[in-house]
């Protein structure tokens, strides 16, 4: 705990939270209306998303301004760090739900449909002849025959890209700590470029899956888990790469000192988090 300063810091009021709530309201209502089949919902959704983005820019901008003017003491810095850590923990639990679904389907649901455990008659009466190998789109052959996305080729290249980017962001961090600003700029730029390349290749992989392999989100449980896990991961990589880009722009503006660079650290943690999730994905979704 840091108690170097004799006085606590309490920030002034802010209108950004209610702006964010208003944005979320329109975003969620818009998506719902759209999903229910009315096209107006799409525009409501876009308006909501625009408000949320406006809020994010405004809120972060204000905090960055306050931080750069030296208003935060080290206790505030520690609060931010802990907050980011536990936010990442909650993200890990979000992915756990989908990994849990994958493991449950592979080890229980599919074998049981194939008659494993005490489900002999389930198999015989409902799904006669279903053998329950993995990958599968289920006894109903939901979505039709498909090809499996193998672990080599694009996924392996993507693994190499993300692993490399984890290294480059660490080099950038060391450069920041040792005051080597040019090295920092180069390696930070490399990191987010690798991130965007990853997202681009992932999009290529999806196009390949949809156009040539008949592997779709609707391809039974394999398609569901494959696209939901890689999709949410890809979304997080995109967000992380945007965060890295913003950090890079801040570096160009001369922000951060060797001692004070919470935003950099938080983004780097986030980046390592998407990296670790990818390793899990690569092993359990593509490889095993």
């Amino acid at each position: 705990m840091a108690h170097a300063e004799d006085r606590y810091y309490v920030p002034h009021g802010s209108h950004w939270p209610v702006v964010g709530s208003a944005g979320l309201f329109f975003l969620m209502v818009g998506v719902s209306i759209w999903l229910n089949g009315a096209d107006t919902g799409f525009w409501v959704m876009l308006a909501g998303a625009a408000i949320v983005i406006f809020m994010l820019i405004g809120w972060f901008g204000e905090v960055i301004g306050e931080s750069e003017s030296g208003r935060y003491n080290s206790q505030v810095g520690m609060s931010f760090r802990m907050g980011m850590f536990w936010f990442i923990f909650s993200e890990v639990m979000f992915f756990s739900a989908f990994f849990g679904a994958l493991f449950y389907a592979r080890n229980m649901a599919v074998p049981w449909l194939a008659g494993d455990s005490n489900n002999f008659f389930t198999n015989l009466l409902l799904w006669d002849g279903f053998e329950g190998s993995w990958p599968t789109n289920g006894p109903g052959n939901v979505g039709g025959e498909f090809e499996v996305m193998g672990p080599f080729g694009l996924p392996l290249i993507n693994t190499a890209i993300l692993m490399t980017s984890s290294v480059t962001v660490t080099i950038a961090h060391h450069a920041l700590i040792h005051g080597q600003r040019n090295l920092l700029k180069v390696f930070l730029a490399t990191t987010f470029l690798l991130g965007f390349i990853f997202v681009f290749l992932q999009a290529e992989e999806y196009i390949e899956a949809y156009q040539h392999m008949n592997l779709k989100l609707s391809s039974g449980i394999y398609g569901s888990t494959f696209f939901m896990l890689t999709g949410f991961h890809g979304m997080h990589v995109t967000i992380g790469a945007i965060m890295l880009t913003i950090i890079w722009l801040r570096v160009l503006k001369g922000h951060f000192t060797p001692e004070r660079h919470f935003a950099f650290e938080a983004t780097a943690w986030y980046w390592h988090f998407v990296d670790v999730v990818w390793v899990g994905l690569y092993v359990f979704v593509y490889w095993m």
């Binding site: 108690h3 709530s21 969620m28 809120w59 931010f80 679904a101 389907a105």
Partner: protein, 534 residues
């Protein structure tokens, strides 16, 4: 970190409350935000309560008389969602906001603006959820547990239900992060972890539970959404998925959730019983370990909610024994509260009465929980009114009475005035009597075979149902008295409260004036090293 001294007198620092609506809309003050949470929770308590009364009115006599079955199902579903996510959870977050900074000697919550956002997401979430009542197909009617495939048949309300749950989760996650960071980073210099008050401890553990399971709920409802709209097969057997998988994921959230709703109440009672017994809490450290054990066990018992759904025998045995293990730490807590009172100079003001009622009635709910944990018995009790009796005993005289006790206990600190003790006692007796009249007969109904979630029933269940309904109406009306008492107290009509409020209570919150000033502990409170906290 050098050069980082905050300029205390800069114009950006917050000094007094802003005038008008900005004070609430732009709030960063933990007391203001706590108040908003508590008021929101009270409003939701009456919304959910009204739905409960519609349910009980329909069930007053056999046959269908007031509402059609579809609307009845909407009421059971919405009643649960509103009470769980709108009444109980925000009430405890409100108490956490008000009291944790005061109890640990912090100036505010660690992340005050995010704190404001956590609150202001809730009205959005619940206006979205409430609006579903007016949609084609009506509100969600498949039960608050949202089991597929039934929930996938919800009408236009479906995406609104999913996204309102997402928003509630977002709010809870941000609230939990704030609580953890506040407790870990903002404590007064000499307040070591084991010197923390029990309310702070139980909330710390609750916040960890929230962080671990709310994202899992978000994942589960996301899978429902994609199953309905985007062709995934998570819960579709033909595609290799399994509807039972939803139940596993949901209850992985759902069981820790029940401890999220009760642990802060444990904390409240652990503050109140020592004060009115005029003795320190018996076994403070063992209370901490017990709460932590309960939290750990809550992650490995979820399938006891689904014994009848079909699972391997080893699974049933594991979840049965793990569930029964929870009785051990819970027993530690109940015995510690009892031992705290042993030979104490006890008095029985309203907060103490509610705490004692909590102690007895929560224990009854705990015992019926043990009965439900036993697999062969549960196969009989499952989906019967016995289950309804069980969880209402732990939620109403458990969680809700915990909130009531806390409000009576700390309200003089908040307003600077005592509530009307006579009316408080009347409110207590009415609540305690009616809660038993309402829910005790449900045990008999369930054991006699009455299923839950039905608008009509066999005539043999008529007598107990009419007793329960009468009790429910009485309980609902008694809560209007609570509102009157609170308003009276806020309007400062009672006696002026001293700084200590009660007879030498322990805790830093009693070292600040009553009412607590807008800003407290702007500098860390001085406590001599090694000394016990006051």
């Amino acid at each position: 970190m050098s050069g980082a001294i905050a300029n205390a007198h800069s114009k950006h620092d917050d000094h007094g409350p802003v005038k008008g609506w900005r004070r609430w809309l732009y709030a960063t003050n933990h007391k203001d935000i706590g108040t908003m949470y508590l008021v929101f929770s009270l409003v939701m308590f009456f919304c959910g309560g009204l739905m409960a009364l519609i349910i009980r009115t329909e069930l007053f006599t056999p046959g269908l008389q007031f509402v059609d079955p579809s609307f009845f199902n909407q009421m059971t579903t919405m009643h649960a969602l509103i009470m769980v996510f709108g009444a109980v959870m925000p009430a405890f977050v409100g108490l956490a906001n008000w009291m944790i900074p005061l109890m640990i000697g912090a100036p505010d919550m660690a992340l005050p603006r995010m704190n404001n956002w956590s609150f202001w997401i809730l009205p959005v979430a619940f206006s979205i959820l409430g609006s579903t009542l007016f949609m084609s197909g009506g509100a969600p009617a498949g039960g608050w547990t949202m089991y597929p495939p039934l929930v996938l048949q919800t009408g236009d309300a479906f995406p609104f239900l999913i996204f309102s749950v997402h928003l509630m989760g977002l709010s809870s996650i941000m609230g939990a992060i704030n609580v953890i960071v506040t407790i870990v980073n903002m404590r007064a210099p000499d307040m070591t972890l084991l010197k923390m008050p029990m309310f702070v401890w139980t909330w710390l553990i609750t916040a960890y539970l929230l962080l671990a399971v709310m994202p899992v709920l978000a994942g589960a409802v996301t899978m429902l959404l994609t199953d309905r709209f985007f062709g995934t097969s998570f819960f579709l057997a033909a595609g290799g998925g399994d509807p039972v998988m939803f139940q596993h994921i949901f209850w992985f959230f759902g069981h820790p959730e029940v401890y999220i709703m009760i642990l802060p109440a444990f904390g409240v009672v652990s503050e109140i019983i020592p004060t009115f017994s005029r003795k320190p809490l018996f076994g403070h450290d063992s209370m901490v370990y017990a709460a932590s054990s309960i939290a750990f066990l809550s992650f490995i018992v979820w399938a006891h909610h689904m014994f009848t759904v079909g699972m391997p025998l080893t699974g049933q045995l594991f979840f049965m024994f793990a569930t029964m293990l929870i009785a051990v730490p819970t027993g530690v807590k109940v015995f510690n509260w009892t031992a705290t009172m042993w030979k104490g100079a006890m008095t029985f003001e309203t907060p103490m009465l509610f705490s004692l009622s909590f102690l007895f009635l929560f224990t009854i709910g705990g015992f019926s929980g043990l009965m439900l944990a036993i697999v062969p018995a549960d196969i009989q009790y499952h989906d019967s009114y016995f289950v309804v009796a069980h969880f209402h005993y732990v939620l109403v005289p458990g969680s809700i009475f915990g909130v009531m006790a806390a409000v009576y206990y700390w309200m003089p600190k908040w307003t600077g005035h005592y509530y009307n003790e006579r009316l408080g006692k009347i409110h207590f007796w009415l609540s305690t009597i009616f809660v038993n009249v309402t829910f005790f007969p449900m045990h008999f109904l369930g054991l006699a075979g009455m299923p839950r979630r039905i608008p009509d029933y066999a005539t043999q269940f008529a007598d107990f149902n009419s007793i329960a309904s009468a009790g429910a109406i009485g309980f609902g009306l008694s809560q209007l008295l609570f509102v009157y008492i609170v308003i009276q107290c806020v309007r400062k009509s009672g006696a002026i409260a001293s700084q200590e409020v009660w007879d030498k209570p322990r805790g830093l919150e009693w070292t600040v004036p009553s009412p607590a000033p807008y800003h407290t502990f702007e500098t860390p409170p001085e406590v001599s090293p090694g000394a016990a906290f006051p």
